[in-house]
Symmetry: C2
Subunit: 156 residues, 2 copies
């Protein structure tokens, strides 16, 4: 896909989906460290140097707790919830901005009341995310605000 | 500015402005080929390879009619209006997607009723825009839909 082959105009359909954009629900087999989240790649074009994706969690859903070398630039697009970045937890709502630096642990959680969606800009060339080891997770949970954010011990 | 120095969290203030983001109204001296438009650079970080900017026009405002080698990836963020891309005019509203390929003429115009804002993703390394020559403008105006879009002869 490059911008020459992209349609010039792709209208939004109902419920934050777009014409010509694949809607990818994450697989959920019970062991996966995310819940009720979908992904749509809005722009992926080599000459832009980056991609723009739209992630959406159902009410109570959350993204994977992970980190990586590449940075994320995020705009909350609908709804509200919380996010963990590094050692801090923030309450977020549309259209707040969140910057995720290299190697910062991060996770987004929608409120219990409504879906939360965010746009995420990312370099087209990037490394794969890594998940926390049990020791790293224990270190994160040692921070009270993060323990509350992550919820029950069994949850990721 | 890089993502290491950016605050992790920048809350949105009222009226589509953000904490810590400079709001840059364009100068308007009467001869400038744009009207009632402002720019805010939301993310500009070398390691992302790209930038994300938010442009907003007042009701009846419009961006510069221009083209360049670099591509734009656009999401309408608030309001509605029209845009010219190449030889086509589209009615747009939030959150429609618009792709502007290399060297396509483009201009955004807010409706007469309300402001229109859009997010624009762009490569961090890019060429400067060029404006249409009188001959190029005449060629664009030869397309009836573009003549209507551009409005009166005196307007850009």
């Amino acid at each position: 896909m490059d911008t020459d082959s992209l349609p010039l105009f792709r209208p939004a359909g109902p419920d934050y989906r777009w014409e010509g954009v694949a809607h990818m629900p994450y697989k959920q087999d019970g062991s996966a460290p995310f819940k009720d989240i979908s992904r749509q790649v809005l722009f992926h074009a080599p000459e832009l140097g980056c991609e723009l994706r739209y992630f959406e969690m159902d009410a109570g859903g959350y993204s994977t707790l992970e980190r990586h070398e590449h940075a994320h630039a995020v705009i909350i697009f609908r709804g509200e919830g919380e996010c963990l970045v590094g050692q801090e937890v923030f309450r977020v709502k549309a259209p707040d901005l969140v910057s995720i630096p290299a190697w910062a642990w991060h996770q987004f959680r929608a409120s219990a009341q409504e879906p939360m969606g965010f746009l995420c800009m990312v370099n087209a060339l990037r490394d794969r995310p890594v998940l926390p080891t049990p020791d790293e997770l224990a270190s994160l949970r040692a921070v009270p605000a993060i323990a509350r954010f992550l919820g029950e011990k069994g949850a990721p």
